[in-house]
Amino acid sequence: MKKIEIKLNQDALAPILDHIKPLAGEIRDDLVVEPQLHSDMDADLRRFWKQDLREKLGSDSDALMNLFGRRFFEEGVIEINPDNADAVLRASAAIRLLLRQRSLKHFPDESLESGNVAHNEMSLEEQRSYASYLFLASIQEVVIDHMDIILGNA
């Protein structure tokens, strides 16, 4: 199976994982973004639609957190392969959206995008949220950059 391995610093990542873990638990149970459904969609389809999104997000969340298992704690390595790549990308997107909605909602988009955020003006909660926000974006970028290798197209 094609895969990429990413080596991470466990000590540096520990507070970020502590911050992400409960959020990953939250997205197992509920959607981050309420889907905008067409007004003439019937009630059964609405219910099925949302339930399916919830189940998908739950399994995506599991895939993301499963990266940080025994191998990560022993060697600092996470493995992205064809079986988990899409789920890791989606779960990362969901948690980033949740972080933005909650702890980072007071910061302008431009500041978050440019990284031009005054850390000393952030609370500890905001600092950890922003570090988590950037960490998940970095994971996404690495996975996207190597998607051809992961999927065996390279």
């Binding site: 989606r90 997107a93 988009d109 978050l112 995008e113 974006a137 996404q140 970028e141 996207i144 998607m147």
Partner: protein
């Protein structure tokens, strides 16, 4: 849509060409959000619609600059499937009736 530190301003070079199934009246629309990475959105458009990178990028830039882009038009059932898939990818996607029909 989030550019994350590149500091580069990018604009669509030309308008996007949406794949249209003839005579069918539903649009798949993607709306801008301030969080998802540009590279992520391009990849999702490629994966979901099978677009090449250049076309996916043009749609992404249209979303970024104009706050929305019509990705596909055609039969309702197919359009619903696309919207559902895009929502699984955490994009803000809606189904709209094509008023041109």
């Amino acid at each position: 849509m989030n550019q994350l530190n590149t500091g580069t301003t990018v604009r669509p070079e030309k308008s996007t060409d949406t794949v249209t199934q003839p005579g069918r009246g539903w649009k798949v629309v993607v709306h801008n959000d301030p969080v998802n990475l540009m590279s992520y959105v391009v990849m999702v458009f490629q994966r979901v619609f099978g677009y090449d990178k250049e076309k996916a990028r043009r749609h992404m830039l249209e979303v970024h600059e104009q706050n929305r882009s019509v990705l596909w038009t055609g039969e309702r059932e197919v359009a619903e499937n696309y919207v559902h898939t895009l929502q699984q990818w955490q994009l803000t996607a809606t189904l709209e009736r094509n008023e041109e029909d």
